[in-house]
Symmetry: C2
Subunit: 492 residues, 2 copies
């Protein structure tokens, strides 16, 4: 614990990798590209899940569970989707192991237990779900069908990084069916909005809502909405996507419904998801060279209390006071942990809680007891102050909101300072190399230009902002006419 | 909806299969042996999860997440565990699909994308977890390690039934590490106790706590504790297990710790789990020929309100009253749904809610408004009564407890009436065939006798009850001496 981290300035990528491990969030496993999410990291994810789940239910969605495996023949049915994911599929081919005759005590795949049809470990569940929806949807009365699933998915990525890109990850995937195109589009927009609200209000991460260009769309979607965030190193991170799937999956799986008027038509669809990748965004947005910085709304422990004592008698007196403080804080729905471990000194505890991003630390010693005070330390500003016990609870309650707001504001100021409008390709390249961030530029709307810019600069179009103003201009690369600026950036 | 179910008396097994589908709990999927858990079924599972999760956390456990895949070399490491699960493993051998040159538009496994080492889809996670724990445990300070994971697992079962036995199922698996044998045994017992408490207080299912015989133990365990329930057809169902794993996995994965005294020793382990199988137990314990019967503590909707009206004006007046009732019920933490769908008649709604086991139904019509009353219908007793609006909330609150208690008592009476002490093998066979249930009999303690009885009667030893009294007797099959009765039954 508390090994000094590489600084962000020195090597941002190394800083991130070290931080994730040192703060006890996650680690690599024995399975290539798959991570172990450690209890502290998982506790943060659980808080995200609880909040998102509440928001999904409030917007009328129900949870369900669909199989982990997708038979190959179903996987193939929607061609674009299949093509998009085929290259990164883990495939189950056998259903039994047996003793290996050549290696005593070892096992091998039983050649006689080969599946007739291979099973793809779901990289996403449209295929298996739409094959199921075929049985659930007959009439307009069955619509809209608003379902979400919390699940693990597998995409065989070659270059992986903890939380940001892993072969297996945890996510939620919403899959909805609607009677009209208009309703489905509204649903895709609604859920992108839910993601934006969650990112801003809980993760304290400002996001830009936008549409993906055709080349960046989800395989099988007619339109992909997204929320894009900016990390401290000036790279963008796609934090969530919501897809309008048109009738593509309904057609691939023959899902029709009878309308009120008795007409048969294919169903309209959406899907939307966020994943444990959000953990990466959370870590990279707020943390500093001393470690993790967590917004109070997602911190497993919002407050930690460390007793400073020289003998058992002092500890007992402190513990009495602490018990009262904890009771009062909990009555205000503030989570608090009393770190009274006798195997660590206060300094080591301070370092650990700083590294793990606990928003507020309270230290109480014998002198504090005499004075009726405690020492409060904020993780976000690294400032300390002495506070009277009388006003402590009110003070802490206020700080929960203040820290949350401060983190959001700081990230917003940084993000806003890193959106640069450019009108020439020279400027484009220079801003990208020196300052990074989002580059707002005109684009001629062709995939060819998009590819060329990516090839030359590694920047991609992150999104066409939903709140973008129409503006006549010339493509930053080809000079062809353009009607709106789009946002380019290098991205995770 | 509301197709008449086969009766339990006619065909219990068919009744169960129909009920699961008709009550909208789950259905079979396109993947052999894998189920789709539908929103209504999943809502019940979510309530179970929430309660269990709370109980695990209250007993000091934290959640984490470990990989879905287990590399074959790790899977092999603990020999008994590997041997126990090898025959039902789904195995990933490839990580890519490609276009099939022989079938345009279709995909095939890319022969060049063969994994160097096959990956087993976890049938249980001891191997991958203990391989991870090796890095987490060095000293006594790292112990106890008390971790739980909510996950999907795959066991390639040949004969599957919704919830009861599926190739993929959802479960939680606790994996703990301890400094002493005594502590690990106490943990295994504690968690078995948690399961028993949950089954009895929330599922309203009485269970017998016991130890498994050696042949029925978890592969890799030194001792398996279990909770055994009895279904209405007289067959037993193992509802949860908690294993004392000794030092088997610590030795297989070389996990040692340094004690306070500076001595090195292998760590002691437990694991424990319950799964979506509990859904099967819940359904079979309480339900009747009209459909599902749910205990209030696990019902997604504890109360449903159905308006009975002839015109919009009546509906509006009823809705006004219903809004007040819902507000009051919710303030008492009672979940309530207002079924004001205009696409179904009251009779159809009644039938649906009966089929889906909503504990309490309130019907309100125009006459009720005049009289200041409602009609209350209990699902468990199928009785109705007219209740004054003034006393409604108190009445409903009381019924929530009463229904929960009634269901438990009914199941307990049935269970107790189906534990039969027998002293001869003739009697054993006769009771098994005519009455079913648990047979309490002396056994000589050998696997040979156990196997022979199983072969002859299909009954297995469900457990050696923890609260069994020492009693000298003669084995019901061999006549050899025995010191305690054990419980035999046919089982799911």
């Amino acid at each position: 614990m508390s090994k000094k981290l590489t600084s962000r300035a020195e090597n941002y990528s190394k800083w991130y990798n070290e931080l994730v491990v040192e703060a006890d969030l996650a680690e690599n496993s024995a399975v290539r590209g798959c991570m172990v999410i450690k209890p502290y990291g998982f506790a943060i994810w659980e808080k995200m899940q609880a909040e998102l789940d509440r928001m999904f239910k409030e917007t009328g969605h129900q949870n369900a569970y669909f199989p982990l495996f997708v038979p190959k023949s179903l996987f193939e049915a929607e061609e674009k989707n299949a093509e998009g994911f085929a290259k990164e599929c883990a495939v189950v081919t056998h259903y039994r192991l047996q003793n290996d005759p050549d290696r005593p005590g070892k096992l091998r795949v039983d050649p006689k237990a080969k599946l007739e049809e291979e099973l793809v470990v779901r990289p996403t569940s449209e295929a298996i779900i739409w094959n199921t929806y075929k049985g659930w949807i007959q009439s307009y009365r069955d619509l809209p069908l608003l379902i979400n699933q919390w699940a693990n998915v597998v995409r065989w990525e070659m270059r992986t990084r903890l939380f940001l890109r892993t072969a297996e990850f945890l996510w939620q995937e919403g899959h909805t069916a609607h009677a009209t195109k208009k309703e489905a589009v509204a649903e895709a927009e609604l859920m992108n909005n839910v993601y934006a609200t969650f990112a801003e209000n809980f993760m304290a991460i400002p996001v830009i809502q936008g549409l993906k260009t055709e080349s960046e769309r989800f395989a099988g979607a007619d339109e992909t909405y997204c929320i894009e965030a900016l990390m401290q190193d000036g790279k963008a991170l796609q934090a969530g996507t919501s897809h309008f799937l048109g009738q593509n999956f309904a057609k691939a799986f023959d899902v029709k419904f009878t309308s009120k008027e008795g007409k048969q038509d294919y169903v309209w669809a959406t899907s939307w998801g966020v994943s444990t990748r959000l953990m990466g965004a959370l870590i990279m947005t707020h943390s500093d060279d001393k470690g993790l910085v967590l917004p109070p709304n997602l911190a497993p422990n919002q407050v930690v209390i460390v007793p400073i004592y020289k003998n058992e008698e002092q500890l007992e007196a402190i513990t009495d006071v602490v018990n009262g403080i904890m009771k009062d804080l909990r009555s205000k729905n503030i989570s608090v942990k009393y770190d009274n471990r006798d195997t660590f000194r206060p300094g080591a505890k301070f370092a650990q809680h700083e590294l793990q991003g606990v928003p507020l630390r309270i230290a109480i010693g014998a002198r504090d007891l005499e004075n009726g005070t405690v020492e409060l330390a904020r993780r976000d500003t690294l400032t300390k102050e002495v506070v009277s016990l009388d006003s402590l609870i009110e003070k802490v309650e206020g700080l929960m909101t203040e820290i949350q707001d401060t983190l959001f504001k700081k990230a917003l100021d940084f993000r806003n300072a890193h959106i640069t409008e450019v009108d020439t390709f020279e400027e484009f390249k220079e801003v990208l190399e020196t300052k990074g961030g989002f580059i707002s530029a005109h684009w001629d709307g062709t995939a060819e230009t998009e590819d060329k810019i990516k090839e030359l600069t590694k920047a991609t179009i992150r999104c066409i902002p939903l709140d973008g103003k129409p503006e006549n201009g010339a493509c930053v690369f080809t000079g062809a006419t353009s009607k709106q600026r789009v946002l380019f950036a290098k991205a995770y």
